[in-house]
């Protein structure tokens, strides 16, 4: 029993211990930022590595906490993402006056996400969702001298409170109609009554808020723009990824009997999310806003994959999130390095960057091609599998729209490439120096972008976890 308790929850334990360690360091004498950062990086790496080993299926607390090899793998992906953030944003983190607090908040949010994707009933789900959200709002405020940062935090907390309210209402309706909050018990008691459909719509809305699915995306761009890049990348990658994981479990397992309802919702939302995300991204000048809208469009693609309602769809989504972590963190990493040294965030500022910073430009180009889904990058495989999974059920027009969106998105990703490589600029941003951990993190991301797709065993491994 105790063994189970330790092993099944090992990722959670590692995170909790790290949080406490940081707390003690903060209360005690404190450390220099640089050594503290290295320590945290090592702990995060440890956490990532342990997440991939000794995993087994099992549940704790009467089914409240459930884990399997797939869920452990998902936790591993998220840990990897956090580790990469600590690398690529190292230069910004080093300067922060409150480094331990930042990591305490980020790890608390991560802990919340771990519990969320492991949750077996609505209560733990709600609690962990809150745990995953509220620290992030505080993280948004970490550019303490900037007004926009506070504004972002305010928007984040208000919109999450609003979506939590909706979620709670949905949960209460589910409980009212089925009399239980256990996931597996709910499934058997679903009869498709109108009240249950209403309850489902509320739950769905809460997910849509977190995933910033159109038309629940309004908070996204402002929050992304105002927050420091470390937070933005955490929000756009880790937070999105974890919610996508629990979302797909909820749909495929808990609400499987209502698939007729959610299939149509998904298809319609996927179409408008892709289209609007892409169309708004076309006109953005600020690189963070630009990536915000691009991430909205990417979520649209994830929905295409989810709509397949088959194990293929689940595999494709998990694989895509893995790919997305590498691609998006590479893009954010480059943006972070540039913003950190020069304070410039506009795409126009990137003009002529290739002359002075070829390394950053290639990484950025690779990341953007991966986001656009161009081979041989992993993004190509990720998107293609999502579309193929979605196509298994849907009509041609649906795949057609997805393909059309790939063209639109290529246009705006190429805009950045064009600014960096082609546009002439008399005074481009000067040569940027960044620390070793940043370049290490960017190289890991680049390697991930190039190899995760080509080496098909990664995809097969994910699939073997599901079947």
């Amino acid at each position: 029993m105790l063994n189970d308790f330790l092993i099944l929850m090992k990722s959670e334990w590692v995170i909790t211990l790290t949080i406490f360690l940081l707390l003690f360091i903060k209360i005690g004498k404190g450390m220099k930022n640089e050594s503290l950062l290295s320590l945290v990086q090592i702990l995060l790496l440890l956490n990532t590595v342990t997440a991939f080993f000794y995993n087994k299926e099992g549940s704790l607390f009467d089914g409240m906490f459930y884990t399997s090899e797939l869920i452990a793998f998902q936790k591993g992906i998220l840990s990897l993402g956090v580790y990469l953030i600590s690398l690529v944003c190292a230069d910004w983190l080093k300067k922060s006056q409150h480094l331990p607090e930042f990591f305490i908040l980020m790890l608390s949010a991560l802990l919340g996400m771990f519990l969320m994707i492991s949750s077996g009933n609505l209560l733990l789900f709600y609690l962990s969702l809150e745990l995953a959200t509220i620290p992030v709002a505080a993280m948004c405020n970490f550019d303490i001298n900037k007004k926009v940062s506070s504004e972002a935090a305010m928007k984040m907390i208000l919109s999450s409170a609003f979506s939590s309210g909706i979620l709670l209402f949905g949960i209460s309706l589910v409980y009212g109609t089925t009399g239980t909050i256990q996931f597996d018990a709910i499934t058997q008691l679903l009869d498709g009554s109108n009240l249950q459909i209403l309850a489902f719509v509320f739950l769905f809305t809460a997910f849509a808020f977190k995933l910033s699915i159109v038309p629940f995306h309004f908070w996204t761009a402002d929050v992304y723009e105002g927050s420091p890049i470390a937070t933005t990348s955490f929000l756009s990658v880790i937070s999105k990824g974890s919610v996508a994981f629990i979302f797909i479990t909820t749909l495929y397992k808990v609400f499987q009997p209502m698939q007729g309802v959610w299939y149509n919702m998904l298809v319609i939302l996927a179409v408008i999310t892709m289209l609007l995300g892409n169309l708004f991204a076309l006109r953005q000048q600020n690189i963070k806003r630009f990536l915000a809208f691009s991430s909205i469009a990417q979520v649209g693609f994830i929905l295409v994959g989810i709509s397949s309602n088959r194990p293929d769809g689940l595999t494709a989504v998990v694989f895509f999130v893995l790919v997305y972590i590498f691609s998006n963190l590479a893009a954010f990493g480059v943006a972070s390095a540039i913003t950190e040294k020069t304070g410039q965030e506009n795409i126009d500022d990137y003009k002529g960057l290739y002359k002075t910073n070829p390394f950053l430009c290639w990484i950025m180009a690779l990341a953007l091609f991966s986001l656009a889904g161009i081979p041989p990058t992993a993004g190509f495989f990720g998107k293609l599998f999502l579309i193929t999974a979605g196509a298994a059920r849907a009509a041609y027009w649906f795949i057609g729209i997805a393909a059309l969106n790939m063209i639109i998105s290529l246009y705006y990703y190429l805009r950045v490439v064009r600014a960096m490589f082609m546009d002439k600029n008399e005074n481009p941003i000067e040569k940027i120096k960044f620390s070793r951990s940043v370049s290490f993190g960017l190289i890991i991301c680049a390697a991930g972008i190039v190899f995760v797709g080509l080496f098909s065993w990664i995809y097969q491994y994910i699939q073997s976890l599901i079947l």
Binding site: I374, P375, F385, T388, Y396, I399, A403, I407, M422
Partner: protein
């Protein structure tokens, strides 16, 4: 006795070349590495031709030779399946010719030389992979690999309104591949229980006619965008004219052929019923492209635009040949692809040589270049005459074969279309002779031209290699015909059997 040939070498070599280029230290090294890599690749292509012919002579009637299969994504039944037939061998040979000529023509690129050669080799890798793949997914993978190098080559090293052209090209080609993607998935899912991305397996399955009617236009138009199918040809003039010399050579010589090959290998071969149904529409549009391209060329003053619009016209012949659906016409279409590839690459090379010295591409500003650069203008004559279809050069062989194949269809519609297409030859003669005459003959219009030196060794070598290609097809077409015809027969058997 069977000799085997490892087709993976064709991919490995460009890959190694590309990596070596990245690792190389000096600019001079980069050039030589690229040249060595493409020279070995050319030798390899000839070895492949030889081994392939040996194998066929030995009585091997398997449609695809030297097949290799590796599981890639078994969950989706995607395998890394490669193999060649006569058509692929011809296209690989063409690619190797154009690549080495392109590398030679870029000898003087000063700006970011390393990146330039890296992208050039990457582009060739996409083409080699495309022509040997026997799996739709792999085919699509290689088709798209080539898009970004094209974009960057035009956008960074191009001239004129290069950013606009690069964007236009990337987006239109991406649109083409999006159609291919949708068509490919449609094909995959309409294959029922035997669903697969494998070309050989799909060719053994009878796809329902209703599905063929939907999927065929998607695939054909999708690939058609790459090969300047009217009205999606608009990227061709802008893209070619803005690209650097080697870029234009690759675009017109190799990249446009990807589309023709795809139309034939994927759309027509796998969806014969669809091909029959839509053949007339294809013929109408390709006839329009042939005539429209020819007349549009008449109006051009810029040498690159002249060749780009004439490419639209010439590639129209490829699609016309496919639309005629006879063995001879399809053989002709493939010969036209090879011939046009070599010819147009040579044309762009010559334009590049002239432009580098005169700094103009306007026909009206030139004149009398024969006096100062005899070698270059001689090559210009050869390529011009090839373009207008002079017997003894490759253009004649290709167009003649297509017309003969077209004439095999005895009805009024096909006859009219053939005659209309034939008329373009007259127009071609007008614009080619006028352009060449203005450039090469007459008095020298600009005194600065008197200082011009003739082509350098690398340019001469590139031109000689390509002229050799034109003559090899033009004087002795039988080897190419014998190489392609059996493969065309296999495709036509599939179309005719139902």
């Amino acid at each position: 006795m069977s000799i085997n040939m490892n087709l993976l070498l064709l991919l490995l070599l460009p890959l190694l070349t590309a990596v070596a280029i990245l690792l190389a230290g000096k600019t001079a090294q980069v050039k030589w590495i690229a040249l060595a890599g493409s020279a070995v690749q050319l030798v390899l292509a000839f070895v492949l031709l030889f081994v392939y012919n040996q194998q066929r002579a030995g009585g091997d009637t398997e449609p695809m030779l030297f097949q290799q299969f590796y599981n890639w994504f078994p969950a989706w039944r995607i395998g890394f399946h490669i193999g060649v037939d006569g058509i692929s061998v011809a296209m690989l040979l063409l690619t190797a010719f154009v690549v080495i000529a392109g590398v030679l023509m870029s000898w003087n690129v000063q700006k970011m030389t390393k990146e330039f050669y890296f992208l050039l080799i990457l582009l060739s890798l996409g083409a080699y992979g495309f022509f040997i793949s026997l799996d739709l997914f792999v085919l699509f993978f290689f088709l798209e690999i080539a898009v970004i190098p094209k974009y960057l080559l035009i956008g960074i090293w191009g001239s004129g309104k290069k950013e606009y052209s690069a964007n236009k090209l990337a987006l239109l080609l991406m649109g083409g591949s999006a159609l291919v993607l949708v068509g490919m998935l449609g094909l995959y899912f309409s294959a029922g229980q035997g669903r697969s991305f494998d070309l050989i397996q799909l060719s053994n399955i009878n796809i329902p006619v209703s599905a063929q009617l939907i999927v065929f236009p998607l695939l054909f138009v999708g690939f058609g965008v790459f090969t300047a199918l009217f009205p999606f040809h608009t990227w061709v003039p802008d893209g070619h004219s803005s690209a650097p010399t080697a870029g234009s050579m690759f675009l017109a010589g190799i990249s446009m052929k990807l589309g023709g090959y795809g139309c034939l290998r994927v759309a027509t071969y796998l969806l014969p019923e669809g091909a029959k149904q839509y053949a007339d529409i294809i013929i109408v549009f390709s006839a329009i492209a042939i005539l429209y391209g020819a007349f549009a060329t008449m109006m051009q003053q810029d040498l690159k635009y002249i060749n780009a619009y004439s490419s639209v016209s010439h590639c129209g012949f490829v699609l016309l040949g496919i639309g005629m659906l006879t063995k001879t016409a399809i053989t002709g279409a493939v010969i036209q692809m090879v011939s046009h590839g070599v010819m147009t690459a040579l044309f762009f090379a010559v334009i590049g040589i002239i432009y580098e010295r005169t700094h103009t591409r306007q026909v009206k500003e030139m004149g009398g270049l024969m006096k100062v650069m005899p070698f270059t203008t001689t090559v210009l004559f050869i390529v011009g005459l090839c373009s207008l279809g002079l017997p003894g050069l490759s253009g004649f062989v290709a167009e003649m074969t297509i017309f003969m194949g077209s004439w095999e269809n005895a009805d009024m519609f096909h006859r009219v279309a053939t005659v209309v297409a034939c008329m373009s030859i007259v127009v071609t003669a007008v614009y080619i002779l006028r352009a060449i005459g203005n450039v090469a003959m007459g008095p020298i219009k600009n005194e600065a031209f008197l200082q011009i030196k003739d082509a350098a060794w690398n340019e001469k070598l590139a031109a000689i290699i390509l002229v050799a290609g034109i003559l090899a097809i033009g004087i002795a077409p039988a080897w190419l015909n014998d190489l392609i015809r059996p493969a065309a027969e296999i495709i036509m058997q599939k179309v005719g059997s139902k």
